[in-house]
Amino acid sequence: MAYRWKNTLTQADVTPKHLWMNRRAVLAGLAGAGALGGTVHAQETLEPNTLEEIRSYNNFYEFGTGKSDPAANAGDMVTDPWEVTVDGLVDNPGTYALQDLIGDLTVEERIYRFRCVEAWAMVIPWNGFELADLLNKVGVKEGATHVAFETAVIPEVMPGVRRRVIDFPYVEGLRLDEAMHPLTMMATGIYGEPMANQNGAPMRLVVPWKYGFKSIKSIVRITLTDEQPPATWNIINPREYGFYSNVNPQVDHPRWSQASHRVIGGGLFSAREDTLMFNGYPEVASLYDGMDLTVDY
Protein backbone atom coordinates (compact mmCIF):
# COMPACT_ATOMS: atom_id res chain seq x y z
CA MET A 1 0.00 0.00 0.00
CA ALA A 2 1.96 2.97 1.22
CA TYR A 3 5.73 3.52 1.06
CA ARG A 4 5.90 2.66 -2.64
CA TRP A 5 7.63 5.94 -3.25
CA LYS A 6 11.03 6.33 -1.65
CA ASN A 7 11.54 9.71 -0.09
CA THR A 8 14.85 11.25 -0.98
CA LEU A 9 14.41 14.36 1.15
CA THR A 10 14.44 13.38 4.79
CA GLN A 11 15.32 15.17 7.98
CA ALA A 12 18.44 13.00 8.19
CA ASP A 13 19.62 14.19 4.80
CA VAL A 14 19.36 17.79 5.76
CA THR A 15 22.63 19.63 5.66
CA PRO A 16 23.51 20.75 9.19
CA LYS A 17 22.39 24.30 9.64
CA HIS A 18 25.83 25.76 10.33
CA LEU A 19 27.04 24.30 7.03
CA TRP A 20 24.25 25.60 4.83
CA MET A 21 24.39 28.94 6.55
CA ASN A 22 28.02 29.16 5.50
CA ARG A 23 27.27 27.90 2.05
CA ARG A 24 24.52 30.44 1.67
CA ALA A 25 26.93 33.19 2.68
CA VAL A 26 29.44 31.92 0.14
CA LEU A 27 26.80 31.72 -2.57
CA ALA A 28 25.53 35.18 -1.81
CA GLY A 29 29.05 36.49 -2.04
CA LEU A 30 29.66 34.79 -5.36
CA ALA A 31 26.31 35.89 -6.75
CA GLY A 32 27.12 39.39 -5.61
CA ALA A 33 30.32 39.25 -7.60
CA GLY A 34 28.28 38.17 -10.61
CA ALA A 35 30.43 35.09 -10.97
CA LEU A 36 27.87 32.33 -10.58
CA GLY A 37 24.54 34.02 -11.04
CA GLY A 38 22.12 31.27 -11.91
CA THR A 39 24.11 28.08 -12.12
CA VAL A 40 24.24 26.81 -8.55
CA HIS A 41 21.72 24.32 -7.21
CA ALA A 42 21.89 25.33 -3.61
CA GLN A 43 21.28 22.45 -1.22
CA GLU A 44 19.64 24.53 1.46
CA THR A 45 16.22 23.83 -0.12
CA LEU A 46 16.34 20.44 1.58
CA GLU A 47 15.64 22.16 4.87
CA PRO A 48 11.90 22.01 5.52
CA ASN A 49 10.30 25.36 6.22
CA THR A 50 9.13 26.03 9.73
CA LEU A 51 5.50 25.38 10.59
CA GLU A 52 5.11 29.11 11.19
CA GLU A 53 6.33 29.90 7.68
CA ILE A 54 4.09 27.25 6.15
CA ARG A 55 1.10 28.57 8.04
CA SER A 56 1.63 32.28 7.53
CA TYR A 57 2.31 32.64 3.79
CA ASN A 58 -0.54 31.20 1.76
CA ASN A 59 -2.62 31.63 -1.34
CA PHE A 60 -6.20 30.68 -0.54
CA TYR A 61 -8.38 33.23 -2.31
CA GLU A 62 -11.54 32.07 -0.56
CA PHE A 63 -10.08 33.83 2.47
CA GLY A 64 -8.64 36.87 0.67
CA THR A 65 -5.95 37.61 -1.87
CA GLY A 66 -3.20 38.75 0.52
CA LYS A 67 -0.58 36.23 1.62
CA SER A 68 -1.49 36.68 5.29
CA ASP A 69 -5.27 36.76 4.70
CA PRO A 70 -5.78 32.97 4.88
CA ALA A 71 -3.98 32.74 8.23
CA ALA A 72 -6.03 35.66 9.52
CA ASN A 73 -9.43 34.56 8.17
CA ALA A 74 -9.53 30.78 7.81
CA GLY A 75 -9.90 30.01 11.51
CA ASP A 76 -13.70 30.02 11.45
CA MET A 77 -14.01 27.26 8.87
CA VAL A 78 -15.37 24.11 10.52
CA THR A 79 -13.53 21.07 9.16
CA ASP A 80 -15.03 18.43 11.43
CA PRO A 81 -17.52 17.08 10.44
CA TRP A 82 -16.53 17.23 6.76
CA GLU A 83 -18.18 15.53 3.83
CA VAL A 84 -16.68 14.64 0.48
CA THR A 85 -18.76 13.72 -2.53
CA VAL A 86 -17.24 11.13 -4.82
CA ASP A 87 -19.03 10.81 -8.13
CA GLY A 88 -18.72 10.27 -11.87
CA LEU A 89 -17.08 7.15 -13.22
CA VAL A 90 -16.58 5.36 -9.90
CA ASP A 91 -17.82 2.05 -8.54
CA ASN A 92 -18.82 3.47 -5.18
CA PRO A 93 -20.23 6.96 -5.66
CA GLY A 94 -21.67 8.83 -2.73
CA THR A 95 -21.25 11.53 -0.16
CA TYR A 96 -18.94 10.28 2.56
CA ALA A 97 -18.01 11.52 5.98
CA LEU A 98 -14.29 12.21 5.59
CA GLN A 99 -13.36 9.67 8.23
CA ASP A 100 -15.31 6.94 6.42
CA LEU A 101 -13.59 7.81 3.16
CA ILE A 102 -9.97 7.95 4.31
CA GLY A 103 -9.89 6.62 7.86
CA ASP A 104 -8.37 3.25 6.87
CA LEU A 105 -5.67 4.62 4.53
CA THR A 106 -2.06 4.56 5.69
CA VAL A 107 -0.72 7.99 6.48
CA GLU A 108 2.97 8.65 5.92
CA GLU A 109 5.24 11.69 5.93
CA ARG A 110 6.73 13.03 2.73
CA ILE A 111 9.04 16.00 2.49
CA TYR A 112 8.28 17.63 -0.84
CA ARG A 113 9.42 20.77 -2.56
CA PHE A 114 6.51 23.13 -3.13
CA ARG A 115 6.86 25.62 -5.98
CA CYS A 116 4.35 28.43 -6.50
CA VAL A 117 3.80 29.88 -9.96
CA GLU A 118 4.59 33.25 -8.37
CA ALA A 119 8.24 32.16 -8.26
CA TRP A 120 8.55 31.32 -4.58
CA ALA A 121 9.06 27.95 -2.98
CA MET A 122 8.94 26.09 0.31
CA VAL A 123 9.87 22.61 1.50
CA ILE A 124 6.96 21.00 3.32
CA PRO A 125 6.79 17.81 5.39
CA TRP A 126 3.31 16.61 4.47
CA ASN A 127 1.36 13.86 6.18
CA GLY A 128 -1.04 12.03 3.94
CA PHE A 129 -1.63 9.10 1.66
CA GLU A 130 -1.29 8.41 -2.02
CA LEU A 131 -4.26 9.61 -4.03
CA ALA A 132 -4.09 6.27 -5.85
CA ASP A 133 -5.04 4.51 -2.61
CA LEU A 134 -8.19 6.59 -2.33
CA LEU A 135 -9.08 6.18 -6.01
CA ASN A 136 -8.59 2.43 -5.83
CA LYS A 137 -10.80 2.31 -2.77
CA VAL A 138 -13.73 4.04 -4.47
CA GLY A 139 -13.05 2.10 -7.68
CA VAL A 140 -12.25 3.87 -10.93
CA LYS A 141 -14.51 2.74 -13.76
CA GLU A 142 -13.35 1.82 -17.21
CA GLY A 143 -13.32 4.88 -19.45
CA ALA A 144 -12.34 7.43 -16.81
CA THR A 145 -9.46 9.60 -18.06
CA HIS A 146 -9.37 12.50 -15.61
CA VAL A 147 -10.07 13.39 -11.99
CA ALA A 148 -11.78 16.67 -11.07
CA PHE A 149 -11.60 18.30 -7.64
CA GLU A 150 -13.63 21.02 -5.98
CA THR A 151 -12.95 23.21 -2.94
CA ALA A 152 -15.57 24.01 -0.32
CA VAL A 153 -17.59 27.21 -0.71
CA ILE A 154 -18.75 28.53 2.66
CA PRO A 155 -19.54 32.23 2.19
CA GLU A 156 -20.23 32.83 5.90
CA VAL A 157 -16.61 32.14 6.79
CA MET A 158 -14.94 33.01 3.46
CA PRO A 159 -14.57 36.76 2.88
CA GLY A 160 -12.96 36.20 -0.51
CA VAL A 161 -16.03 34.25 -1.63
CA ARG A 162 -18.32 37.05 -0.45
CA ARG A 163 -16.24 39.59 -2.39
CA ARG A 164 -16.19 37.25 -5.43
CA VAL A 165 -12.51 37.94 -6.10
CA ILE A 166 -12.65 35.06 -8.59
CA ASP A 167 -15.36 32.57 -9.57
CA PHE A 168 -15.96 29.96 -6.90
CA PRO A 169 -15.94 27.06 -6.26
CA TYR A 170 -12.24 26.68 -6.97
CA VAL A 171 -11.84 23.66 -9.24
CA GLU A 172 -8.81 21.73 -10.44
CA GLY A 173 -8.10 18.54 -12.29
CA LEU A 174 -5.51 15.95 -13.19
CA ARG A 175 -5.16 13.37 -15.89
CA LEU A 176 -5.85 9.93 -14.41
CA ASP A 177 -2.24 8.77 -14.83
CA GLU A 178 -1.03 11.90 -13.02
CA ALA A 179 -3.54 11.28 -10.26
CA MET A 180 -2.42 7.64 -9.91
CA HIS A 181 1.29 8.52 -9.86
CA PRO A 182 2.90 7.47 -6.56
CA LEU A 183 4.14 11.04 -5.97
CA THR A 184 0.60 12.43 -5.97
CA MET A 185 -0.84 12.54 -2.50
CA MET A 186 -3.74 13.74 -0.43
CA ALA A 187 -2.44 15.53 2.63
CA THR A 188 -4.22 15.78 5.94
CA GLY A 189 -1.40 17.12 8.08
CA ILE A 190 1.94 18.91 8.17
CA TYR A 191 4.77 18.19 10.63
CA GLY A 192 2.60 15.47 12.16
CA GLU A 193 -0.01 18.03 13.16
CA PRO A 194 -3.50 18.35 11.73
CA MET A 195 -3.49 20.60 8.68
CA ALA A 196 -4.16 24.25 9.48
CA ASN A 197 -7.24 25.62 7.73
CA GLN A 198 -5.16 28.07 5.68
CA ASN A 199 -3.15 25.12 4.32
CA GLY A 200 -6.29 23.41 3.07
CA ALA A 201 -7.78 21.44 5.96
CA PRO A 202 -9.06 18.87 6.34
CA MET A 203 -7.77 17.33 3.10
CA ARG A 204 -5.92 18.76 0.12
CA LEU A 205 -4.17 17.57 -2.97
CA VAL A 206 -0.36 17.69 -3.26
CA VAL A 207 1.22 17.34 -6.70
CA PRO A 208 4.84 18.32 -6.11
CA TRP A 209 5.95 18.59 -9.75
CA LYS A 210 3.22 21.09 -10.62
CA TYR A 211 2.79 24.72 -9.64
CA GLY A 212 1.13 25.07 -6.27
CA PHE A 213 -2.28 26.21 -7.52
CA LYS A 214 -2.87 22.71 -8.92
CA SER A 215 -2.71 21.34 -5.36
CA ILE A 216 -6.31 22.22 -4.53
CA LYS A 217 -7.28 22.78 -0.90
CA SER A 218 -10.17 21.82 1.38
CA ILE A 219 -11.65 19.31 -1.06
CA VAL A 220 -15.38 18.55 -0.96
CA ARG A 221 -15.80 16.79 -4.28
CA ILE A 222 -13.84 14.29 -6.33
CA THR A 223 -15.22 13.40 -9.76
CA LEU A 224 -13.91 10.81 -12.20
CA THR A 225 -14.62 11.94 -15.75
CA ASP A 226 -13.83 11.06 -19.34
CA GLU A 227 -12.85 14.58 -20.34
CA GLN A 228 -10.38 17.23 -19.24
CA PRO A 229 -12.04 19.00 -16.31
CA PRO A 230 -12.09 22.78 -15.86
CA ALA A 231 -9.34 24.36 -13.73
CA THR A 232 -9.91 27.73 -12.07
CA TRP A 233 -6.76 29.64 -13.03
CA ASN A 234 -6.77 28.09 -16.48
CA ILE A 235 -10.27 29.54 -16.98
CA ILE A 236 -9.28 32.98 -15.62
CA ASN A 237 -6.22 33.29 -17.84
CA PRO A 238 -5.45 30.34 -20.14
CA ARG A 239 -2.34 32.03 -21.55
CA GLU A 240 -0.78 32.30 -18.10
CA TYR A 241 -1.96 29.06 -16.50
CA GLY A 242 -2.05 25.89 -18.57
CA PHE A 243 -4.05 22.82 -17.58
CA TYR A 244 -0.88 20.87 -16.92
CA SER A 245 1.11 23.64 -15.22
CA ASN A 246 4.13 21.42 -14.66
CA VAL A 247 7.03 23.26 -13.07
CA ASN A 248 9.21 24.05 -16.06
CA PRO A 249 12.03 26.60 -15.97
CA GLN A 250 12.17 26.60 -19.76
CA VAL A 251 8.58 27.63 -20.38
CA ASP A 252 8.30 31.34 -19.86
CA HIS A 253 5.28 32.61 -18.03
CA PRO A 254 3.93 35.97 -19.21
CA ARG A 255 4.08 37.35 -15.69
CA TRP A 256 6.99 35.66 -13.95
CA SER A 257 10.09 34.09 -15.42
CA GLN A 258 10.04 30.53 -14.13
CA ALA A 259 13.81 30.11 -14.43
CA SER A 260 14.41 30.79 -10.76
CA HIS A 261 12.59 31.28 -7.49
CA ARG A 262 13.11 32.49 -3.98
CA VAL A 263 12.80 30.18 -1.00
CA ILE A 264 10.48 31.45 1.70
CA GLY A 265 12.14 31.85 5.07
CA GLY A 266 15.59 32.73 3.75
CA GLY A 267 15.23 36.25 5.06
CA LEU A 268 16.08 39.56 3.49
CA PHE A 269 19.39 38.53 1.93
CA SER A 270 18.71 35.04 0.60
CA ALA A 271 19.70 34.47 -3.01
CA ARG A 272 17.42 33.11 -5.69
CA GLU A 273 17.66 29.48 -6.66
CA ASP A 274 17.40 27.87 -10.05
CA THR A 275 14.08 26.16 -10.64
CA LEU A 276 14.41 22.49 -11.58
CA MET A 277 12.47 20.71 -14.33
CA PHE A 278 9.38 19.10 -12.80
CA ASN A 279 10.46 20.84 -9.58
CA GLY A 280 13.22 18.27 -9.17
CA TYR A 281 11.00 15.20 -9.71
CA PRO A 282 12.29 13.84 -13.05
CA GLU A 283 10.56 10.50 -12.40
CA VAL A 284 7.32 11.99 -13.72
CA ALA A 285 8.82 12.86 -17.12
CA SER A 286 7.54 9.64 -18.71
CA LEU A 287 3.95 10.80 -18.09
CA TYR A 288 4.53 13.37 -20.78
CA ASP A 289 6.37 11.30 -23.38
CA GLY A 290 5.61 12.55 -26.86
CA MET A 291 4.08 15.79 -25.61
CA ASP A 292 5.47 19.21 -26.44
CA LEU A 293 5.57 20.82 -23.01
CA THR A 294 5.98 24.28 -24.52
CA VAL A 295 2.51 23.80 -26.07
CA ASP A 296 0.88 21.80 -23.26
CA TYR A 297 2.33 23.95 -20.49
Partner: protein, 208 residues
Protein backbone atom coordinates in the same frame (compact mmCIF):
# COMPACT_ATOMS: atom_id res chain seq x y z
CA UNK B 1 -13.10 76.94 4.78
CA UNK B 2 -10.63 79.76 5.48
CA UNK B 3 -10.97 79.05 9.19
CA UNK B 4 -9.31 75.72 8.57
CA UNK B 5 -7.08 76.62 5.67
CA UNK B 6 -5.48 79.78 7.04
CA UNK B 7 -3.96 78.23 10.17
CA UNK B 8 -2.64 75.36 8.07
CA UNK B 9 -1.10 77.81 5.63
CA UNK B 10 0.44 79.79 8.51
CA UNK B 11 1.81 76.57 10.00
CA UNK B 12 3.13 75.35 6.65
CA UNK B 13 5.02 78.61 6.16
CA UNK B 14 6.91 77.94 9.39
CA UNK B 15 7.81 74.31 8.64
CA UNK B 16 11.13 74.01 6.85
CA UNK B 17 11.24 71.60 3.90
CA UNK B 18 13.98 69.53 5.48
CA UNK B 19 11.39 68.29 7.95
CA UNK B 20 9.61 66.64 5.01
CA UNK B 21 12.87 65.12 3.77
CA UNK B 22 13.75 63.70 7.18
CA UNK B 23 10.18 62.55 7.78
CA UNK B 24 10.22 60.49 4.61
CA UNK B 25 13.85 59.36 4.58
CA UNK B 26 13.85 57.92 8.10
CA UNK B 27 11.19 55.28 7.34
CA UNK B 28 13.48 53.70 4.72
CA UNK B 29 16.08 52.30 7.16
CA UNK B 30 13.24 51.58 9.57
CA UNK B 31 11.47 49.36 7.03
CA UNK B 32 14.75 47.61 6.16
CA UNK B 33 15.29 46.94 9.85
CA UNK B 34 11.74 45.61 10.19
CA UNK B 35 12.20 43.35 7.15
CA UNK B 36 15.55 42.05 8.39
CA UNK B 37 14.21 41.23 11.84
CA UNK B 38 11.04 39.40 10.86
CA UNK B 39 8.67 42.35 11.26
CA UNK B 40 7.42 42.09 7.68
CA UNK B 41 6.52 38.41 7.56
CA UNK B 42 8.27 35.33 6.25
CA UNK B 43 8.78 36.81 2.78
CA UNK B 44 10.33 40.16 3.67
CA UNK B 45 11.79 40.94 0.26
CA UNK B 46 8.45 41.09 -1.48
CA UNK B 47 6.86 42.94 1.41
CA UNK B 48 9.61 45.56 1.43
CA UNK B 49 9.53 45.92 -2.34
CA UNK B 50 5.80 46.51 -2.29
CA UNK B 51 5.96 48.91 0.65
CA UNK B 52 8.54 51.13 -1.07
CA UNK B 53 6.55 51.10 -4.30
CA UNK B 54 3.35 52.04 -2.52
CA UNK B 55 4.95 54.93 -0.65
CA UNK B 56 6.39 56.15 -3.96
CA UNK B 57 2.88 56.14 -5.43
CA UNK B 58 1.51 57.94 -2.37
CA UNK B 59 4.19 60.62 -2.71
CA UNK B 60 3.34 61.06 -6.39
CA UNK B 61 -0.31 61.49 -5.36
CA UNK B 62 0.59 64.04 -2.68
CA UNK B 63 2.67 65.93 -5.23
CA UNK B 64 -0.17 65.90 -7.71
CA UNK B 65 -2.61 67.10 -5.06
CA UNK B 66 -0.70 70.27 -4.21
CA UNK B 67 -1.82 72.36 -7.18
CA UNK B 68 -5.53 71.39 -7.00
CA UNK B 69 -5.52 71.99 -3.23
CA UNK B 70 -4.23 75.49 -3.81
CA UNK B 71 -6.58 76.17 -6.67
CA UNK B 72 -9.76 74.75 -5.18
CA UNK B 73 -9.19 74.95 -1.42
CA UNK B 74 -6.71 77.79 -1.04
CA UNK B 75 -4.26 75.50 0.71
CA UNK B 76 -0.70 76.53 -0.11
CA UNK B 77 1.80 73.69 0.21
CA UNK B 78 3.73 74.62 -2.91
CA UNK B 79 7.05 74.93 -1.10
CA UNK B 80 7.01 71.22 -0.27
CA UNK B 81 6.33 70.04 -3.81
CA UNK B 82 9.95 69.70 -4.87
CA UNK B 83 10.79 67.70 -1.74
CA UNK B 84 7.78 65.44 -2.34
CA UNK B 85 8.80 64.85 -5.96
CA UNK B 86 12.44 64.13 -5.13
CA UNK B 87 11.35 61.77 -2.34
CA UNK B 88 9.03 59.93 -4.74
CA UNK B 89 12.05 59.39 -6.98
CA UNK B 90 14.10 58.16 -4.02
CA UNK B 91 11.40 55.63 -3.10
CA UNK B 92 11.10 54.44 -6.69
CA UNK B 93 14.90 54.05 -6.72
CA UNK B 94 14.86 52.02 -3.51
CA UNK B 95 11.95 49.93 -4.88
CA UNK B 96 13.94 49.22 -8.04
CA UNK B 97 17.12 48.56 -6.07
CA UNK B 98 15.31 45.98 -3.93
CA UNK B 99 14.11 44.27 -7.10
CA UNK B 100 17.58 44.19 -8.65
CA UNK B 101 19.64 43.19 -5.61
CA UNK B 102 17.38 41.39 -3.13
CA UNK B 103 14.54 40.04 -5.27
CA UNK B 104 16.43 39.08 -8.44
CA UNK B 105 19.81 38.40 -6.78
CA UNK B 106 21.58 40.35 -9.56
CA UNK B 107 20.53 37.85 -12.24
CA UNK B 108 21.07 40.38 -15.00
CA UNK B 109 20.10 38.11 -17.86
CA UNK B 110 16.79 37.19 -16.29
CA UNK B 111 16.09 40.82 -15.36
CA UNK B 112 16.86 41.99 -18.89
CA UNK B 113 14.39 39.41 -20.21
CA UNK B 114 11.80 40.47 -17.64
CA UNK B 115 12.07 44.13 -18.59
CA UNK B 116 11.16 43.37 -22.19
CA UNK B 117 8.86 40.38 -21.79
CA UNK B 118 6.70 41.27 -18.82
CA UNK B 119 4.56 44.32 -19.55
CA UNK B 120 4.16 45.40 -15.94
CA UNK B 121 7.93 45.50 -15.52
CA UNK B 122 8.34 47.31 -18.85
CA UNK B 123 5.83 49.93 -17.71
CA UNK B 124 7.46 50.31 -14.31
CA UNK B 125 10.85 50.73 -15.92
CA UNK B 126 9.57 53.36 -18.36
CA UNK B 127 8.07 55.32 -15.47
CA UNK B 128 11.38 55.13 -13.57
CA UNK B 129 13.43 56.28 -16.57
CA UNK B 130 11.04 59.17 -17.18
CA UNK B 131 11.53 60.29 -13.59
CA UNK B 132 15.29 60.68 -13.98
CA UNK B 133 15.23 63.97 -15.96
CA UNK B 134 12.62 65.35 -13.57
CA UNK B 135 14.68 64.50 -10.50
CA UNK B 136 17.83 65.82 -12.18
CA UNK B 137 16.18 69.19 -12.87
CA UNK B 138 14.55 69.56 -9.45
CA UNK B 139 16.77 72.49 -8.49
CA UNK B 140 16.70 76.28 -8.89
CA UNK B 141 19.63 76.27 -11.29
CA UNK B 142 17.75 74.05 -13.77
CA UNK B 143 14.61 76.19 -13.54
CA UNK B 144 16.68 79.31 -14.36
CA UNK B 145 18.64 77.63 -17.11
CA UNK B 146 15.63 76.04 -18.83
CA UNK B 147 13.27 78.92 -18.28
CA UNK B 148 10.14 78.52 -16.17
CA UNK B 149 7.84 77.73 -19.10
CA UNK B 150 9.98 74.95 -20.56
CA UNK B 151 10.71 73.58 -17.08
CA UNK B 152 7.03 73.48 -16.18
CA UNK B 153 6.17 71.83 -19.46
CA UNK B 154 8.76 69.12 -18.94
CA UNK B 155 7.64 68.46 -15.38
CA UNK B 156 4.12 67.72 -16.60
CA UNK B 157 5.70 64.37 -17.43
CA UNK B 158 4.80 63.47 -13.86
CA UNK B 159 1.15 63.01 -14.93
CA UNK B 160 1.83 60.00 -17.19
CA UNK B 161 4.56 58.80 -14.80
CA UNK B 162 2.13 58.59 -11.88
CA UNK B 163 -0.53 56.93 -14.07
CA UNK B 164 2.01 54.37 -15.34
CA UNK B 165 3.08 53.71 -11.76
CA UNK B 166 -0.51 52.90 -10.81
CA UNK B 167 -0.99 50.73 -13.92
CA UNK B 168 2.22 48.88 -12.96
CA UNK B 169 0.71 48.28 -9.50
CA UNK B 170 -2.58 47.04 -10.99
CA UNK B 171 -0.79 44.67 -13.35
CA UNK B 172 1.39 43.10 -10.64
CA UNK B 173 -1.81 41.64 -9.13
CA UNK B 174 -3.15 38.36 -10.47
CA UNK B 175 -6.75 39.54 -10.22
CA UNK B 176 -8.45 42.95 -10.15
CA UNK B 177 -7.68 44.32 -6.71
CA UNK B 178 -9.41 47.38 -5.27
CA UNK B 179 -6.37 49.13 -3.79
CA UNK B 180 -4.31 49.65 -6.96
CA UNK B 181 -7.45 50.66 -8.85
CA UNK B 182 -8.11 53.33 -6.21
CA UNK B 183 -4.57 54.65 -6.69
CA UNK B 184 -5.14 54.97 -10.43
CA UNK B 185 -8.54 56.61 -9.96
CA UNK B 186 -7.11 59.16 -7.52
CA UNK B 187 -4.22 59.97 -9.87
CA UNK B 188 -6.52 60.39 -12.88
CA UNK B 189 -8.84 62.51 -10.73
CA UNK B 190 -6.02 64.79 -9.59
CA UNK B 191 -4.78 65.25 -13.15
CA UNK B 192 -8.37 65.86 -14.28
CA UNK B 193 -8.88 68.52 -11.60
CA UNK B 194 -6.28 70.63 -13.36
CA UNK B 195 -8.68 71.09 -16.23
CA UNK B 196 -11.56 72.27 -14.03
CA UNK B 197 -11.74 76.03 -13.43
CA UNK B 198 -11.18 77.10 -9.81
CA UNK B 199 -14.14 77.86 -7.54
CA UNK B 200 -13.46 81.57 -7.58
CA UNK B 201 -13.61 81.65 -11.36
CA UNK B 202 -16.96 79.85 -11.40
CA UNK B 203 -18.34 82.04 -8.66
CA UNK B 204 -18.98 79.30 -6.11
CA UNK B 205 -18.31 80.92 -2.79
CA UNK B 206 -16.49 78.84 -0.25
CA UNK B 207 -18.43 78.54 2.95
CA UNK B 208 -16.53 79.03 6.17
Amino acid sequence: MTAIVDPINRFARKVPTWVVYIGYLLPIPFFFYLAATGGMGVEPINALEREMGEIALQLLIIGLAITPLRKHAGLNLLKFRRAIGVLAFVYVGVHLGIWVVLDMSLRWEQMWGDIWKRPYITIGMIAFLAMIPLAATSNNYSVRKMGATAWRKMHKLVYPIAALGAVHFIMVQKVWEAEPLIYLAVILGLVGLRYIPSQKATGVASKG
